[in-house]
Symmetry: C2
Subunit: 364 residues, 2 copies
Amino acid sequence: MKSVITVELPQQSYEITIAPGAVDDLGSWMNRLCLGQKVLVVSNPMIFRHYGQRLMDTLTEAGFEVNSCILPAGERYKTPMSLQKIYDAALVQRLERSSTLVALGGGVIGDMTGFAAATWLRGIAVVQVPTSLLAMVDAAIGGKTGVNHPHGKNLIGAFHQPRLVVIDPQVLKTLPAREFRAGMAEVIKYGVIWDAALFAQLESSPRLDQRRYVRESLLQEILTRSCEAKAHVVSQDEKESGLRAILNYGHTIGHAVESLTGYRGVNHGEAVGIGMVAAGAIAVEMQLWSQGDHQRQLALIQKARLPTQLPPGLDRGEIVAALQTDKKVAAGRVRFVLPTQIGTATVTDQVGSALIHKVLATLQ
Amino acid sequence: MKSVITVELPQQSYEITIAPGAVDDLGSWMNRLCLGQKVLVVSNPMIFRHYGQRLMDTLTEAGFEVNSCILPAGERYKTPMSLQKIYDAALVQRLERSSTLVALGGGVIGDMTGFAAATWLRGIAVVQVPTSLLAMVDAAIGGKTGVNHPHGKNLIGAFHQPRLVVIDPQVLKTLPAREFRAGMAEVIKYGVIWDAALFAQLESSPRLDQRRYVRESLLQEILTRSCEAKAHVVSQDEKESGLRAILNYGHTIGHAVESLTGYRGVNHGEAVGIGMVAAGAIAVEMQLWSQGDHQRQLALIQKARLPTQLPPGLDRGEIVAALQTDKKVAAGRVRFVLPTQIGTATVTDQVGSALIHKVLATLQ
């Protein structure tokens, strides 16, 4: 099984390769890109213990001069401080404009490594090797990079496209079940906003809450369809001036929930799960989509064993206030992505605070 | 007197306006760009005391909601820490994707503000209002932004083009003479590498070391021709993959000198002056240009009362070693821009360490 998806872009297109065992072939794929000799692999301790040596081996065999930079794991380390450590490693290895950063890890590692690549020497190459389901279907594709500000997620960032994305479904074996479920939230998102057939495939699977209950061919299909959806949207709107905004489905309230819980307790995918339920309920209230579709979405989110209620103790007023500092604010109005039927969504800034309060009350 | 120069770029072209009194017209020019309502002016204490109120007034009158963020002056504050202060101000004002940063100051303010704009919410608009000669003819144009790493200048940065550059020659009245001379180094650079007519105009001026000795029409001409040179080169090679590298004339050794003196003692323009003398001498040694042209360049640098010798105590070996960490290193070889005649230059990585040592010895 192998899928290759091209992200078509005016400046530089790139390929997403999805294949079991792909980690061991990275060196030869990177060789085809005519990159410089120096490569710095950025990862976290656990991931590097599992896959670091294999990655270093394939890169060394392909003739690269490889170093590594290991950062602490977790969203709370997605900070300017961690970024500084990548810069320091880049300086020690004397990375040049032709050098490459390789992100081996989940979304946090991918975002930070991408941002470091965007800003080291005003931009060097980055290759994404995502190891979480969430990073595979979302963060690793599309060039959004960044770190968190103490008062908001991804407030500091840049658009910087990778030169290559390599997805090895086998690495999901070591992914904790909770992380797998978090990634499933983004997969469900693609089903709701973009791909009704993917949604139906997800409905047909007896379970979605752990990798071992999802058969390999369906997993390959889920990864491929999700990456195709993301690649398609990014190709049409690289810098999020229009269409790309629909990828923020579930993220408006999701980000606020993450931010208010201090990026602890609720992870990104879980927050998106809650955010999709909220957005779906808002869409029903605004008569944009049917109660039936809303229930189908709810059933899928529950099948992935994702939360559908706000975490206890979280104040609705705080959430509404936090929405104002979100990047998706335009002229002071909060932008929401709302589903209209399974497979399509729309963007609107016509959601009033009163309606948000009302819907959030049903999630408590 | 008014000159308007367009920097033609595939993604978004922009104008450089050079006119006495231009500071008071910024609001109306910015209004034409259809920017969002929120504007954050970034400056330093001295500059803001001189021109801040006029700038705030023109922006307020034009209908913008304006705040300011004042940072300490000087290259040694061009750090991630200062950047953090801009981010914090952006957060307090709740800047949105449609908001604009205005850089009112010299190269340090321009570079940091540009980088903050490049990385806030993955990129918002920036308008450059340079107040030093150096920033007017160089830093404010072309989209190079960044901050310093403790071990190297501008190692952290991004390409982010301004939406508008407004140059008011009258503000040079408050520029210290030493800063004026520093800017003159870049003007001389354009004469050497690009514009023989500009070089001849500079030769015809009795003095170049203080603004009051340069007549207003010549100053307008110097600014216009320098900005035209920069705009032309940037239009042809936005990301410095080829032609743009010639703008680094005098900067290879210049950066090393600045870095080794800890960004104190020798300022950027002075370092470029020294770097041009060194590069000129290397070019003579390599028989790329004539002793006569080298002497004409030397005379002009001396007329601007810029240093032509290395600062005392600086070790040649250290300079050669420092060149290796420069951004302009490719595959371990240092790239030099060398003049071939007045008005043209070439880029080469064929300068050996022995020759660099030999030439630096003549500058001590």
